[in-house]
Symmetry: C2
Subunit: 330 residues, 2 copies
């Protein structure tokens, strides 16, 4: 099984992008770095029964998502993805027909952003399917965005609607068909859950402005990811509930399932939108750069303040939401 699977991976990776000196088949993949750049390294694991169910996704979209969650980390730092390593822990009963569409989805997603599947490892799993991707990227040394630079007075932006992936998950768990969701309005929520879009073009555009003080991708929900950004910078944040981008589809799903759209937006996780901060004096410029990259304006959702923690303003009320997002789980 192992040698057959490695052959499939090698075939899928044959179209490896430029810059790969040697690929699958040696003990290591060998890449030619871009002179004068720094190296970005990230890894994410998706585990069956925790991050996905084989019943409510399909191998192709799962491959795309495995790539996307890692690509999103490179996007948050303003980098370009280059080389990926795939580690698989495979349970005995898995249908071998799983692999070709999974690998097609994975490599398609990587290659669309200039990255190549460069190697990996496969082992037998003691439990369910465990998918780990490690991704190396590059960035200009002076243009790497981090989590730590936000200062009181900075404006907080996010790149797109919040809570959609969580709403899509709730709909799937409630029995919605993952392949032809009805009503069609829910299609975008299912897509947000099963096939999220990494914001690489936006990340590059934000980094190029040189004006973004801190950035992070929204993987664990606004309440947790903004808290990470605040903790790293030694600051607090205030988010305006009325300004959070909640789509009509999200509100409709919330009515259907008797849930609060705001809860999904704050705590849902897996949106893979970018969150960033910018000093007021450079807001217009960065907003314009983001709008060009996204094809629509980004969302101004709050402000960095002195102190600690994340507070939500709902009308006259303020409540502490620091780290109330969820760890990933299905």
């Amino acid at each position: 099984m192992e040698r057959d699977l490695i052959r499939r991976i090698a075939r899928a990776a044959e179209r490896a992008a430029a810059g790969l000196v040697a690929g699958i088949g040696d003990d290591c993949a060998v890449g030619a770095p871009t002179p004068g750049h720094v190296l970005l390294l990230t890894t994410d694991t998706l585990a069956e029964g925790v991050h996905f169910r084989l019943e409510t996704t399909d191998p192709f979209r799962l491959g795309r998502k495995t790539a996307a969650v890692n690509l999103s980390d490179i996007a948050a730092m303003g980098g370009r993805p280059r080389w990926a390593l795939l580690s698989l822990a495979v349970p005995a009963g898995l249908d071998p027909a799983f692999w070709d569409p999974f690998l097609a989805g994975l490599t398609e997603r990587l290659e669309a952003f200039g990255a190549a599947l460069a190697g990996g490892d496969t082992v037998r799993s003691p439990g369910g399917l465990v998918l780990t991707l490690a991704l190396a990227g590059e960035a200009e040394p002076g243009r790497v965005m981090g989590r730590a630079g936000a200062r009181p007075g900075d404006i907080v932006y996010c790149s797109g609607p919040l809570g959609e992936a969580a709403a899509g998950l709730a709909l799937l768990e409630a029995g919605l068909c993952p392949h032809r969701p009805r009503p069609a309005a829910f299609r975008r929520l299912v897509r947000a859950q099963l096939d999220p879009e990494p914001r690489l073009g936006l990340g590059r555009a934000l980094a190029a402005t040189g004006a973004v003080t801190a950035a992070i991708d929204l993987s664990d929900g606004l309440a947790t990811d903004l808290a990470h950004l605040c903790e790293a910078g030694g600051v607090g944040a205030e988010v305006d509930a009325a300004r959070l981008p909640l789509s009509r589809a999200l509100r409709r799903a919330a009515r259907r399932l008797d849930r609060r759209p705001l809860d999904w937006a704050l705590a849902g996780g897996e949106d893979y939108e970018l969150l960033w901060t910018v000093p007021p004096g450079r807001e217009g410029e960065v907003r314009a750069a983001a709008a060009r990259a996204l094809g629509r304006p980004p969302h101004r959702i709050g402000r960095i303040v002195a102190g600690r923690g994340v507070r939500l303003r709902e009308g006259a009320r303020r409540r502490d939401i620091t780290f109330t997002g969820h760890e990933h789980r299905f």
Copy 2:
């Protein structure tokens, strides 16, 4: 649990080696590559019940082995390890006391060879504990060893005794104490299984000669790894059974368990010694370089021939052993 574990990892990684611009706490780790070098990338996964049992190892040695199996891939290509990413799928019931010794063993092993733990991910496991390390290293572009260059007439060398890790595993499975093995002669076999030594100094020394035509590390047993090397180069190999380095401890364990030492040497796997080929005209020079790096001479075990596959010579008999090594398993 996840945030607590990430804090432990961050503490363990605090002493990160030079060359790490940013570490745990951002979406990516940021490394400063050495100008003019190529990047080596490798990953290996160890799964509970497949590659290890928590009953017959300990967290410290498991951390060291998790590092060593990846370091060995960098050694096989002649590189220097630099940055590692650790991905953990953690079952619900795992004792939190596992982590500090595990991380101490992992980072100690990495740092001894100049590499740093630079980041990672932790998720809940659907089954047992799954440990994945991805490791990035560097090498001089003209000095990277690969699997593909062996030519008929080249001599086949390996760096150390074969089958010891498999013998150690068999002894542990038969009930030998992993902490105080008796007789003491078995200690080296247990160490080979639980705490293998990656041959990084040797890898650098071999690469520096510029004379090694192909190299690979022995992770799946000589019969399989030499077959990989032959397949990659479009050649065959003949190995002389009488020349295989089988230690007295190995023979003694084989008598104890009524096994054949030769089977362990050919098929056992997990030795993490290096295997390389060298043209006869440069044999002396490479042998001397290897001896200096190892502190003892390497072992000349066979010859590359035209054709395909790996044959074992036992006296007058020859038998095909191509790919008869075992995939890793406990």
